[in-house]
């Protein structure tokens, strides 16, 4: 029979009266990812228990390692609530670990919530430590820097586990509302999506496709990126916006140095229109202050002024190296650096404005009378469910 898992939840256990709501959401998110396997999640108050059903361990662990709200998890051994049974399981665990033990020093961490159990937490630790050392002569106790830890918890049942694995932490996706991620093929925006999902935001994503000026490979790359972050966001719906006609109008009607900013303005406007349709209450971008011309303070002020929705920019104060570090961590980096550009050089001015005047830019935007074209782009979006 497959072992159950204990799932430790961190921050969400501290959220006062909202705790139940958060826990419910986290359970639902885990269940949803393991849908069709018969897996079930129970428990509360900082600890969930997962019965895997038909799900394989590798799948369960992949899901738990990518579900926000999970701080750590481990496979558990359930024992009868007697000293003898707990001792027998502890010895079994050591036997099972066999060669997999990464060191010879260990520590027992015991927690006794059920005060009717005859031994105190300290006594449980001493007892098990003694028994393990007797059976396995090469083992020794080190309570300060152990090579591995055997945890024992006496609650409604007795459970034992070792090898805790880290979850991603954060808050359960969906608890903070719904947002729309502006996803390009670059390094930053997938990381931004990951970071906002970590704070509990449920996400849809949109990508601006300008064929033939950008290639279908660029679109495939964005779909691939969306797929990579989708386990973190609890699934993702990618909207591909046909952007060529908008770009051509901008190129024809706008001053060259304003082109990039007006393009960004149109993107924000389109994102806002789509957000309203999808009931998303915020936009998310991968902008980092001063990284490129369109991300200077004044540029961001202008593009931000194009929407009433809040724009979350979780990377705003980060260095590129820090962003790359995170991109590597979530496995988007190698895809992001594939050589399929998301903007053609034709639409990239040599000297884009870096210090735009908000009023002048607003006038420039309004003189385009481009709203109907933006509506058309939203209407013709291609929806890809990942």
């Amino acid at each position: 029979m497959a072992h159950k898992y204990i799932i430790k939840i961190g921050e969400i256990a501290l959220k006062g009266k909202n705790r139940r709501l958060f826990e419910k959401r986290l359970k639902a998110n885990i269940r949803s990812e393991l849908q069709g396997t018969g897996a079930s999640v129970s428990g509360g108050f900082g600890r969930f228990y997962l019965s895997p059903g038909e799900a394989e361990n590798a799948r369960v662990e992949e899901v738990l390692s990518k579900t926000f709200g999970v701080v750590s998890f481990a496979q558990i051994h359930s024992a009868e609530k007697t000293v003898e049974s707990i001792t027998a399981h502890a010895l079994d665990i050591c036997n099972e670990m066999g060669d997999r033990i990464t060191g010879t020093s260990f520590k027992i961490e015991a927690r006794r919530s059920d005060k009717s159990f005859p031994l105190s937490s300290y006594e449980i630790a001493c007892h098990l430590g003694d028994k393990l050392c007797q059976r396995f002569s090469h083992l020794s106790v080190d309570v300060h820097k152990p090579d591995w830890i055997l945890s024992v918890e006496i609650r409604e049942n007795a459970i034992l586990y070792t090898s805790q694995k880290k979850g991603p932490g954060g808050l359960p996706v969906g608890i903070a509302g719904r947002g729309l991620l502006l996803l390009s093929g670059g390094i930053d925006s997938p990381v931004a999506g990951y970071m906002m999902a970590k704070r509990g935001l449920e996400l849809d994503a949109l990508y601006f496709h300008a064929y033939p000026y950008t290639s279908d490979e660029a679109k495939e790359k964005v779909i691939k990126l969306a797929k990579i972050i989708s386990p973190y966001t609890g699934g993702l719906c990618l909207h591909v916006i046909p952007f060529t006609d908008v770009q051509l109008i901008l190129k024809e009607k706008s001053r060259e140095e304003e082109l990039t900013l007006l393009m960004r303005a149109c993107m924000v406007k389109i994102a806002e229109k789509l957000a309203v349709k999808k009931r998303a209450d915020c936009l998310v971008t991968g902008e980092a202050l001063s990284q490129v011309a369109s991300q200077t303070l004044k540029s961001i002020s202008f593009t931000g002024s194009m929407t009433h929705l809040p724009i979350f920019r979780p990377l705003i104060g980060m260095d590129k190296e820090e962003i790359i570090h995170l991109a590597r961590k979530i496995n988007t980096f190698e895809t992001s650096i594939l050589p399929f550009e998301d903007c053609c050089t034709i639409f990239s001015p040599k000297h884009p404005l870096v210090n735009p005047n908000l009023e002048m830019m607003t006038d420039s935007y309004e003189s385009l009378h481009i709203d109907a074209e933006l509506d058309k782009a939203v209407k013709n979006n291609e929806k890809i469910v990942l």
């Binding site: 064929y211 033939p212 290639s215 051509l248 190129k251 024809e252 050589p339 053609c344 050089t345 034709i346």
Partner: protein
Amino acid sequence: MNIVYLDWAASAIPDAEIIEAVAEITRLFFGNPSSRHYCGRQALDLAGQDRHTLAMLMGCSPGHLIFTSGGTESNNMVLRSFMMKKRKNGLVCSSIEHASLYETALYIKRQGIPVAFPVTGSDGFADPEKIYDAIDENTGAVAVMLVNNETGAIQPLEDIVKAVRTREAEFGSPIHVHTDAVQAFGRIPFDLNSLNVDSAAFSAHKLGGPKGIGALYSRKKLSPLITGGGQEEGLRAGTENTAGIHGFALAAGKRIENMDRELPAAAGLRNKLIGVITSLQGEVLNQGGKGFSPYITAAFFPPVPGEVLARTLNDRGYAVSTGSACSARNKKKTRVLENMGFSSRDAASALRISIGHSTTVQEINSFGEVLAEELEHLRKAAGVVSVGS
């Protein structure tokens, strides 16, 4: 959709009769040439005959020819063989080489071995004097391709070999000269004997033969890249691709047999193509065509990116490429042209149009019409108001 194929330098349209012959050989000569029984001997004999045929067509001894998987492997084998030498392992490599040589040279450089990349002129030709200057007492090998795969420029190999031999005499020790002949053999008159190079790389699928088969000529002993069963005199292990070898020999034979007819026909088509390009205010590298293979034409329509133009032409049924097909999936797409001194914008506007023995005048004419239409759209998008006025 009917495709007009103008990307022969990436891979030629295979000759139907050659592919049929390859299938037939696969069926009949299935034995492993290393086996001692009749079936094995039969396969071995056939590969031996094909080796003789190819050696004769290339102008070398059959004993100096080993079969490989293609140009990339052959180029790698030469360079990596020199990398393993303890002394005199320095390398001089022209800056316009195919990625299989250039990237390997960069890899060798990263191992701490001296590698020089002499600058090439904006006309696309390596300069023998610059190569002479780049050679020093540690240089063990010089690599210069014969026909550039992006521009079609036929490199002045004879003068380069002379410059190397002069340096060789000055330093009193041999310098190996390698040439990547993938775009030359079977297309332009070619004779290893008169080229006086020490090694050369070949590929079958550029000639209308099958993919996955090529050859390395080397008159000097090299180290194997692949070890195993001792095939190819211990220089390239792995069961011989008997059918592929046969297809290679047939394709090379056919190209060379027909060269008197195919080469002037290609030159005619190339001239027509240049006429089309210049009438559309495009630029070509091989204006006049002297010193260039007629099979490859590099055209430029700045500021229209070649990648976008190739995409729209593809949508209309015309297969062309930007730069080398082998580099089209990485960021160094414009390396060769930028190393020739092109600005990144101009390099990015390059379109490689490569023709083959079955390309027709009608195809070039219709290509010209479609090119004109697509350029009109793209130039308008790029903000080019009135071209040429």
